[in-house]
């Protein structure tokens, strides 16, 4: 067609000629057979197209430029099936008939024919390059990583001597000297040939090559055995760990019960054996067991953790009997845990009876003494009973110092007056608690309203505090604390009164109201307890298991006293918990100590033997000592002189600080390590020659005028050999 195109363009059709356009123009002078054939086909195509257009919209066919060679055969003959794809079957078709082909290959060909999978197209150049690069890099980095051990070793080495592979100076072993020597005379040559033929050692007369080989082989075997052992051990360990983990995760109670039983059985067996073997040890073991059992029993008893207790606790809501039982149980628990307290209580009661006329003794005495225990700020914080007590306690905290004993006596009277006042108030409040609305009315006549009272208390407290502590600056903070506490207390009180009212209502149903204990006795009990408890065993600490806290509605108790006792117990608990720490006095003591340490001491400059006889057992005369005793000038007043709650250390001196390290330097992890490095002296004044040499060894040693070559692969090999032989390779580097 291309020829035709060119022809037609010659005739004056400049545009590109397409097949389908040219049907009419085909009536040219030189119509060949090929053209006629083409004509027929074109006709057919047109027909097909026409049929196609009948069905619907006419699809616009794109002009297509065809390649001439496809349509034209070399021999101007149209090729049959030109548009078809060549199939594999077309190629293999002839194979079937070929007789010489084996069955196997035929089969394979058949399989190939059947498989319809297409081969994936090859990756783009960029991607394949990238993959190749990546692989190469991985290979290289792996290779390079072999140096890791060498590098690390060199980093850790105490001393590196460069150049690395230096010839050892000094006398060489004979073998190495002999190495260069060559057999020259025929006899020598003969001898050496014999030796070499029998593989006898020439230079290193220790092992023949075969021997060495055998040694090496053995070492390999050993290594293998060792490795196997290690593997086994590791596997066993991992199994064991997995098992333990599994067992620990099992939640089944029954399983654990069985396990425990098995364990105990095992133990029993062992014990039986021990009885036969070593009766003394068995006895000891028995004792231990007994002790453990006792402890267990003691700790478990009345701890409200038993099944019974729990069930009762549930029932207590509905059943009165159960409630009572639980109450009793709690009671017992309390008794048990505070055994000593109860016994002391009895004593106290006895003493009270002896005294008989408790009214004569003013209540505040007890209060004040009780305050001694409240020197503990924990206590003051927790106390929600009455604020007045707290105030006194705070006041006495400062008084607790032994150092201000003299002033204390002076102030005693003033204190008494105040304390009495406080006590009055406290009593009033207790009465308030008992029957709030009625009593309040009565009290109001005597006193101002509550807020006024509080303010008054506050001011009084502060004044008292200041008076006592003479400039202990804690007054302000304490006052603030007090204020807060007071607010809290009032809330608490309200709650309490409400609760009490409810209780009392109940109580009136049940029976007659037992009159309240006088506060004095109560206080006495408290003080007694607190005094003695310090000496007693603290059962809470002994018990292995803490008491279960049961939330049980109160049994309809009749006595208020019991109730107060309970409160008391709570306080007792707190007291016990923080019995040890008396922070404020500790702090004050410490401050005093620091002040004393800061005071300059007198210096004795007496020189014995000057102007009089000297010698052992002789003291310089008194006069002389007095003469040469230099009193130092009093120091400048301390900065924290007027700040009782603060200790300002005056040890820091600016002149020394310039030379001191103020932050822990980098490689050190703790100050102690750093201090140790500083503390150890290096010089020959303190160390022997050898130590000094060892300690002051420089990290890098180079030889004068020697070229230091870069590290070579031999180092790596050496390192590997060294590692396999179990010796350090850096022997050479650390002479």
């Amino acid at each position: 067609i291309s020829s035709r195109v060119s022809m037609q363009s010659n005739e004056g059709h400049p545009d590109v000629i397409y097949d389908d356009e040219k049907e009419e123009d085909a009536t040219d002078d030189d119509v060949t057979v090929e053209d006629e054939d083409g004509y027929d086909e074109r006709k057919r195509q047109k027909l097909l197209e026409a049929i196609g257009t009948l069905s619907g919209k006419r699809k616009k066919t794109l002009g297509e430029r065809s390649e001439a060679a496809v349509h034209m055969s070399e021999f101007t003959v149209n090729v049959e099936g030109e548009g078809d794809k060549v199939d594999l079957s077309d190629l293999i078709g002839s194979m079937k008939t070929t007789p010489g082909l084996s069955g196997k290959s035929k089969k394979r060909l058949k399989n190939m024919e059947q498989s319809r999978k297409t081969i994936e197209c090859p990756l783009s150049k960029q991607e394949s390059e990238r993959i190749r690069r990546d692989l190469a890099f991985q290979k290289v980095s792996k290779e390079v990583s072999h140096w890791k051990s060498v590098i690390r070793q060199n980093e850790r080495a105490e001393q590196l001597v460069f150049p690395l592979n230096q010839e050892h100076s000094g006398p060489k072993p004979i073998e190495r000297v002999v190495m260069d020597w060559k057999a020259q005379t025929p006899l020598e040559q003969e001898v050496f040939t014999l030796l070499s033929a029998n593989k006898q050692p020439i230079n290193d007369p220790i092992l023949t090559p075969t021997e060495e080989a055998s040694v090496k082989a053995m070492s390999l075997e050993e290594a293998k055995v060792r490795r196997a052992e290690l593997q086994k051990a590791r596997a066993l360990q991992s199994y064991y760990e997995a098992k333990a983990r599994r067992q620990r995760k099992i939640k089944s109670k029954k399983y654990h019960k069985v396990l425990n039983k098995a364990k105990s059985k095992d133990f029993q067996k062992q014990f039986d054996e021990m009885v036969k073997r070593d009766p003394a040890a068995a006895l000891e073991e028995l004792n231990k067991m007994e002790m453990a059992r006792m402890q267990e029993r003691m700790s478990l008893k009345h701890q409200n953790s038993s099944k019974w207790a729990r069930s009762k606790a549930i029932m207590a809501k509905y059943d009165e009997g159960a409630r009572k039982a639980i109450q009793q149980q709690l009671e017992v628990n309390k008794d048990l845990t505070q055994k000593l307290v109860t016994s002391l209580n009895k004593e106290e009661e006895e003493t009270m009876e002896e005294e008989g006329n408790a009214d004569v003794v003013p209540d505040f005495v007890n209060d004040a003494e009780q305050g001694l225990d409240f020197s503990n700020p924990w206590m003051t914080g927790k106390l929600s009973q009455d604020c007045v007590e707290k105030e006194t306690s705070n006041a006495v905290t400062i008084r607790a110092e032994e150092n201000v004993a003299e002033e204390e006596e002076v102030e005693e009277t003033e204190e008494e007056v105040l304390l009495r006042e406080f006590d009055n108030r406290r009593k009033r409040r207790q009465a308030q608690e008992a029957d709030a609305p009625v009593m309040l009315m009565e009290e109001e006549e005597e006193n101002k309203d509550a807020s006024d009272k509080e303010e008054e208390e506050l001011s009084e407290f502060t004044s008292l505090f200041k008076g006592l502590a003479e400039g202990c600056g804690e007054a302000d903070t304490a006052a603030e604390q007090e204020k807060e506490l007071k607010i809290r207390c009032q809330e608490d009180e309200e709650l309490l009164t409400q609760g009490k009212e409810a209780e009392e209502e109940e109580a009136t149903d049940k029976g007659p109201v037992v009159p309240q204990h006088p506060p004095a006795t109560e206080n006495a009990q408290k003080t007694g307890k607190s005094r003695k408890r310090r000496k007693g065993i603290e059962l809470k600490q002994v018990l292995t298991k803490g008491a279960q806290v049961l939330q049980v509605p109160f049994a309809p108790t009749i006595e208020d006293a019991e109730d107060s006792e309970e409160k008391l117990d709570q306080r007792g608990l707190i007291k016990e918990a923080f019995a040890g720490d008396d922070i404020i006095s500790d702090f004050l003591k410490e401050k005093r100590k620091q002040e004393d340490a800061g005071k300059p001491k007198a210096v004795d400059l007496t020189l014995p033997g000057w102007g009089e006889w000297g010698g052992g057992g002789l003291q310089p005369s008194c006069r002389k000592r007095r003469k040469f005793r230099r009193k130092m000038t009093p120091p400048t007043p301390r900065k924290d002189q007027h700040l009782p709650g603060v200790i300002i250390s005056e040890k820091r001196s600016s002149s020394i600080r310039l030379h001191q390290v103020n932050a822990l330097p980098f490689p050190f992890e703790s100050p102690s390590v750093f201090e140790n490095t500083i503390r150890s002296a290096l010089g020959r004044t303190w160390n022997t020659e050898r130590t000094v040499k060892k300690v002051t060894k420089p990290k890098v040693v180079t030889k004068l005028g020697a070229i230091i070559e870069p590290m070579t692969r031999e180092e790596l090999v050496k390192d590997k050999n060294g590692a396999s032989a179990g010796t350090s390779s850096s022997v050479k580097r650390k002479p």
Partner: protein, 495 residues
């Protein structure tokens, strides 16, 4: 002073000193008499009559020196109570040692002048410590004798710059590349009388070569220009060429330990790693600014340090290129060259800011800075193969020889001298964290421009840091991540 020594009985307390002297006299006399007179007879006395007498005995070996050249033997009592205040005394010694170090810190040894243009490249001789080769910007090449401080040979190697130079591992010949697109191989020894100065070999290339390095122990060398080529010495065409995108490379360096590896710095701000045995490059890391050159650690196979245009040097582990293991800061202008000490513990860098700095391989800041008034932009730097000297070639046509340790005494040290130096070195190390000592040890005098520029840079950095902090503070938590200094300078790693 306690009257009377320990162990001497005191009968008369009133005159103890007199008594003491008498006792000593009597004792020594008695001993002498015993040794001289009685002892010979003692042998004949039967054993049961022998009396045990305690005598002060001294072995002359303990106190007599062998030759008169030996120092006097001083018996010492190491009882710590006799030598109190050890820490304070050593502190004083350390302080003095530090001060003396600063007093004796005179690093400049010599200046070699003779070039008629800026020194562009230098090469160490592989086998001789005292030989140095240098090529200048006018194509002239000079061979120097360092011990005599003189030029032994001059030749016009190229037209235009001598771009690179390397001595063959055997030290018998060296290669140069220049702006005239040629690679030339020259004999190390100067031509005999009447012979012409001619290269052994000349290879004409198609493009300009900018760098050159020789394999550690094979007759193979590498050049870089538009691509990195590996050449066999016997052939006139490269045996392998590496390209990765179109870029020009500024330097190429063989790894001295893993000798088949190479690294090159390209102008697209990247550092590319190669393996000579592979047909493709291995990896490349692109940084925020261009690296001028790099140097492999001669003792640690996978570490190399590159000198960057952003005033910093970066030490990389070639296996993990995503983040340099250390950023070395202190220069105030582009770093032009870097070379490792042969011990692999330190390296030296040359900068456009007219200074040379010495860094510990794992130190973020330099331990030393060298500069002189006349030294201009330092273009090339070398650390001598015996770890003692540093050689710098600079713009103003001079090559300078420096000591690697500024305060070190040159030459052979007497044993006592060496011990004293070791001791004071250890003392300095021990007390290096004490502020006074640190202050003195760190103090360096800097040219005014550099001093102010350092300050300025510090201010800029602080401002940037503050700004970033503020941005972080006022944006959603986690939206502005904290990027460490090490990560900041790496753009990406290309596989």
């Amino acid at each position: 002073m306690q009257p009377g020594g320990p162990g001497i009985p005191q009968c008369n307390a009133r005159s103890p000193s007199l008594f003491t002297i008498n006792t000593w006299l009597v004792c020594s006399l008695l001993a002498n008499i015993f040794v001289a007179i009685i002892f010979p007879f003692c042998k004949r006395v039967p054993l049961r009559y022998q009396m045990k007498v305690k005598v002060i005995a001294r072995n002359p070996d303990d106190y007599v020196r062998e030759t008169k050249l030996d120092i006097q033997r001083v018996p010492r009592n190491y009882d710590p109570s006799l030598h109190p205040f050890e820490v304070s005394r050593e502190y004083t010694r350390a302080l003095n040692a530090t001060k003396l170090e600063r007093v004796f810190a005179k690093p400049f040894v010599a200046s070699l002048d003779g070039h008629r243009d800026g020194v562009n490249c230098m090469a160490k001789h592989a086998k001789s410590l005292s030989t140095l080769l240098s090529g200048s910007c006018d194509g002239e090449l000079k061979v120097w004798n360092l011990s005599k401080h003189e030029c032994v040979r001059t030749l016009q190697a190229h037209e235009g710059f001598v771009r690179g130079m390397v001595v063959r591992y055997c030290g018998t010949s060296f290669f140069t590349v220049g702006d005239d697109k040629t690679i030339k191989q020259w004999k190390m020894e100067s031509p005999g009388y009447g012979e012409e100065e001619e290269p052994i070999n000349t290879i004409l290339g198609k493009t300009v070569y900018t760098g050159l390095d020789h394999h550690q122990n094979d007759p193979v060398f590498a050049t870089c220009g538009q691509q990195v080529d590996i050449w066999d010495e016997q052939r006139s065409s490269p045996i392998r060429s590496f390209t990765w995108g179109v870029d020009s490379f500024s330097s190429v360096h063989f790894n001295p330990v893993e000798t088949e590896l190479l690294a090159s710095c390209a102008s697209d701000r990247s550092i590319v790693l190669y393996d000579m045995r592979e047909s493709t490059p291995l990896k490349k890391v692109i940084m925020t600014m261009r690296s001028n050159t790099l140097s492999w650690n001669p003792m640690e196979a996978y570490y190399f340090t590159c000198a960057n245009e952003d005033y910093n040097l970066y030490t990389y582990d070639m296996r993990y290129l995503a983040k340099p293991i250390m950023v070395h800061m202190d220069h105030v202008s582009a770093v032009l060259d870097v070379d490792y000490a042969p011990t692999g513990k330190e390296f030296v860098s040359a900068s456009f800011d007219k200074t040379i700095r010495i860094f510990a391989k794992d130190g973020g800041h330099s331990r030393e800075v060298y500069h002189t008034k006349r030294m201009q932009h330092v273009i090339c730097i070398k650390w001598s193969a015996d770890n003692k000297y540093i050689l710098s070639g600079s713009d103003e046509m001079n090559i300078r020889l420096w000591k690697a340790n500024a305060a070190e005494k040159l030459g052979v040290l007497a044993p006592r001298e060496r011990e004293a130096a070791n001791y004071s070195q250890k003392l300095k190390e021990k007390f290096q964290h004490h502020p006074q000592i640190r202050r003195i040890a760190r103090h360096r005098h800097l040219p005014k421009t550099i001093y102010h520029q350092t300050k300025e840079l510090r201010v800029m950095k602080e401002a940037r840091r503050r700004k970033e902090k503020n941005v972080r503070k006022h944006s959603k938590p986690g939206s502005v991540p904290v990027v460490s200094e090490k990560e900041k300078h790496v753009v990406t790693v290309v596989k």
